[in-house]
């Protein structure tokens, strides 16, 4: 896809990209810088004198971030698996089968994306508590184990799969499950990987829902533990708060760097065809 450009056009694009990249990366870099500065430094200085890792160690130790980090990993992994599975399953009939009420179902599912979160959390909590899942990690995972956005993505990807391949599978004697498993899913792998990545992003730093659902300190996820620290132990030691934030940020960045090979343009499949 590389097109030949004049040197000037290249320079213009480079310039724009560089400026945008600076703005994009700036605050995060700032955060990391502040976390590395020794504790005497003013929070507003940009000095690079005496950089140290002690803030991270302190934040980890004082904040006892190990347990919450583990819980976050558990919750996020469960969500990723469930999201990809359930959305891919649901997208198949919506993309490829015709049955009565199909469009109504699709619209209903999409409507869930438009519901404002803050107020719907309380009724959802009632439902969860009524199911006996009060103060469990399962309660954190379950209501968000599939999203309309995920279904939408998968459906778009499935729509882009050539029907000939499906026909071929049918002729070979595959039923719906085998077709799904052996044709639809593999061909939408980039989209599914993208969905997985987005699920990780959304789930890892989620604060409000685990805050409301969980009580036992052993079950806290990382954002909840950090919120508690922000208004508790770290309220005057903001530097430790920043260090803790960087620690919370790190795993997601790592996952992203690893997964971004999958973010090839075609990962969005037919989404851009409207």
């Amino acid at each position: 896809m590389i097109e030949r450009r004049t040197v000037m056009a290249s320079a213009v694009w480079h310039g724009l990209a560089a400026v945008l990249a600076l703005i994009a990366v700036g605050p995060a870099v700032w955060l990391v810088l502040v976390s590395l500065q020794p504790s005497g430094t003013s929070l507003h200085s940009a000095s690079v004198r005496g950089l140290t890792l002690e803030n991270f160690a302190e934040a980890w130790k004082q904040g006892q971030l190990g347990g919450p980090a583990l819980n976050s990993v558990l919750v996020t992994s469960a969500r990723v698996v469930l999201n990809v599975l359930i959305a891919a399953m649901a997208a198949y009939p919506l993309a490829r089968m015709s049955f009565r009420g199909r469009d109504t179902v699709f619209v209903l599912l999409l409507a869930t994306m438009m519901v404002p979160e803050q107020v719907v959390l309380v009724p959802m909590f009632r439902t969860v508590a009524g199911m006996g899942l009060f103060d469990t990690l399962a309660a954190v995972v379950l209501p968000f184990s599939v999203t309309a956005f995920g279904i939408y993505l998968c459906r778009q990807a499935f729509l882009a799969v050539p029907t000939e391949l499906e026909e071929a599978a049918r002729i070979d004697g595959c039923g719906p499950w085998r077709t799904w498993l052996h044709v639809m899913v593999p061909l939408s792998a980039p989209t599914l990987a993208t969905l997985a990545l987005f699920t990780v992003l959304g789930s890892w730093s989620e604060l409000l829902w685990p805050l409301i659902v969980l009580q036992d300190r052993e079950k806290m996820t990382l954002p909840v533990a950090m919120s508690s620290l922000m208004s508790g132990a770290f309220v005057t030691n903001v530097r430790l708060a920043y260090a803790a934030s960087v620690i919370a940020l790190l795993p997601v960045v790592v996952v992203f760097l690893f997964a971004q090979r999958f973010l090839r343009p075609d990962a969005f499949g037919g989404a851009v065809k409207g």
């Binding site: 508590a129 199911m131 499950w177 300190r217």
Partner: protein, 479 residues
């Protein structure tokens, strides 16, 4: 072909079964993960505010004592971060899972009580607790005339003042020469700015920062300071309280703060940020004096050692009445509790003199129980160390400190209405008199909806007498 079709059907069924199995397993797992449901015996849930992890041992000890005294009862303790309490409590209550005993700050207590969160307590509280602390726990409920005890006061944190002697020296002042009242500080603030910038140095805001600050907009301290000045923005007639926050003397008092803010004698953060900015700026060496609870001393020691080294403790800044403000932590029993008697007993136990004294040994807090104060731990001692100084100062000010929080169910809404009004004046440049008139209108509307109250719900102590004098103001011996 046909075998394939039937195979497909089998696959479908298997697929469906698999799904169902997964969901059932998930639910079972979830149920299992929910930890031990109390097997036999009664369960009480207790929520505290921001006590973990430092006071884990203490709380567990207290809970163990209680459980030993009440065999068959298990207390499940959960700690909640400050800003999460409202959300969690409301969500829990709507799902029927409100905790039996919940710890709350005095600011939120009356509001939640008015929403029906708490049950009135039938206990002999009057002799047990500091009168001022107990006053704000006594509220009128709807449909009932008398003020009833709706919660028990737990620990209190009378405010002391910390000063940065180095910054003061730059302006030619000393800890001893610092004004002791808010108005005095306001008068001095201008001179401080001039002198400090003459001697040069300091960044941010120009010239060594500010003399002091108080939250005026967000978490506005103006109602507290007003009451501490003896200015009561209410009056009363036959049918109850009347709002008078637009009275000339109130306008004049607030006006002095507004003028100081507009003249740049206070940082802009005083308009937009709450307590957080006081500590942060003091730590950064941009405030010469800060009035707060002594617990933050330990944190400043860790986070800004040079500032800590230059810090001295002086008696907390007061209004004209000479009484420091005293935030109170309250324990309430849920109105939906299935074991109200036991829950009350738990709250009673946690606030007992012995419990509170033990707590005070661990934290720079003061007890709300009168009997605790006779423990030798609180007696004056002549040891050095800043933290020790702060403790002694707290004990000293406890004698005259007052919880300047009104026992009104709509008080937090009134405070919020005043906060919004203050923000309009300070940040948007609105006219003060007109803003206060608008606030007064809102207050009138709130009072119309609220439970009928009288002036007795508003703290109106007299001026603090000297320690030798003993008896003055509406509170008893400890005033």
């Amino acid at each position: 072909m046909s075998t394939d079709v039937s195979q497909d059907r089998k696959l479908d069924r298997r697929g469906a079964l698999r799904c169902a199995a997964a969901l059932v397993a998930g639910a079972a797992l979830g149920g299992g993960l929910s930890g031990c449901v109390g097997r036999g015996g009664t369960r009480l849930t207790l929520w505290t505010l921001a006590l973990r992890p430092w006071f884990d041992e203490y709380m567990r000890g207290q809970i163990a004592e209680f459980e030993a005294a009440h065999p068959g009862v298990v207390v499940e303790w959960s700690d909640v971060p400050f800003d999460a309490l409202e959300r969690k409590l409301i969500a829990a209550a709507s799902a029927g899972r409100a905790p039996d005993v919940v710890n709350m700050s005095d600011l939120n207590f009356a509001r939640f009580a008015s929403l029906g969160a708490f049950a009135p307590l039938d206990v002999a509280a009057k002799e047990r607790y500091l009168p001022s602390a107990l006053e704000l726990c006594q509220l009128r409920v709807r449909g009932g005339g008398e003020r009833r005890v709706m919660g028990l006061p737990w620990y209190v944190t009378p405010q002391v003042s910390m000063v940065n002697t180095k910054l003061l020296a730059r302006a030619g002042m000393t800890a001893a020469s610092m004004p002791r009242t808010w108005m005095g500080l306001l008068d001095e603030a201008g001179r401080y700015r001039v002198r400090a910038s003459e001697r040069g140095g300091g960044r941010g805001g120009g010239g060594g920062g500010f003399l002091f600050s108080q939250p005026l907009g967000e978490e506005s301290q103006i109602p507290i300071m007003m009451l501490g000045e003896g200015i009561v923005p209410f009056s009363e007639n036959g049918s109850g309280l009347i709002a008078e926050v637009d009275r000339p003397d109130v306008v004049e008092y607030v006006g002095r703060w507004v003028k100081a803010f507009g003249a740049g004698l206070l940082p802009r953060a005083a308009g937009t940020t709450g307590h957080a900015h006081l500590l942060q700026m003091y730590q950064d060496g941009e405030l010469a004096a800060v009035s707060t609870g002594p617990s933050f001393l330990r944190r400043i020691k860790a986070a800004a050692p040079e500032v800590f080294a230059a810090t001295e403790i002086v008696p907390g800044t007061t209004g004209k009445l000479g009484r420091a403000h005293m935030p109170v932590m309250v324990l309430g029993v849920s109105s939906k509790s299935r074991e109200p008697g036991l829950a009350t007993a738990l709250a009673w136990h946690l606030t007992s003199p012995a419990s509170q004294t033990a707590f005070c040994r661990l934290a720079p807090i003061m007890p709300s129980s009168v009997a605790s104060l006779s423990d030798p731990f609180f007696a004056e001692r002549d040891e050095g160390g800043l933290v020790e100084q702060a403790k002694l100062e707290s004990v000293r000010s406890l004698r005259t400190a007052t919880a300047f929080t009104a026992a009104l169910d709509v008080w937090p809404d009134m405070r919020r209405s005043l906060e919004d009004g203050m923000k309009r004046v300070l940040l948007d440049g609105a006219d003060l008199r007109r803003s206060l008139e608008a606030v007064n209108e809102e207050w009138r509307g709130l009072l119309a909806l609220s439970v009928r109250s009288g002036l007795d719900a508003v703290p109106r102590p007299g001026p603090a007498a000297g320690l030798d004098d003993g008896d003055s103001g509406r509170v008893g011996r400890v005033a």
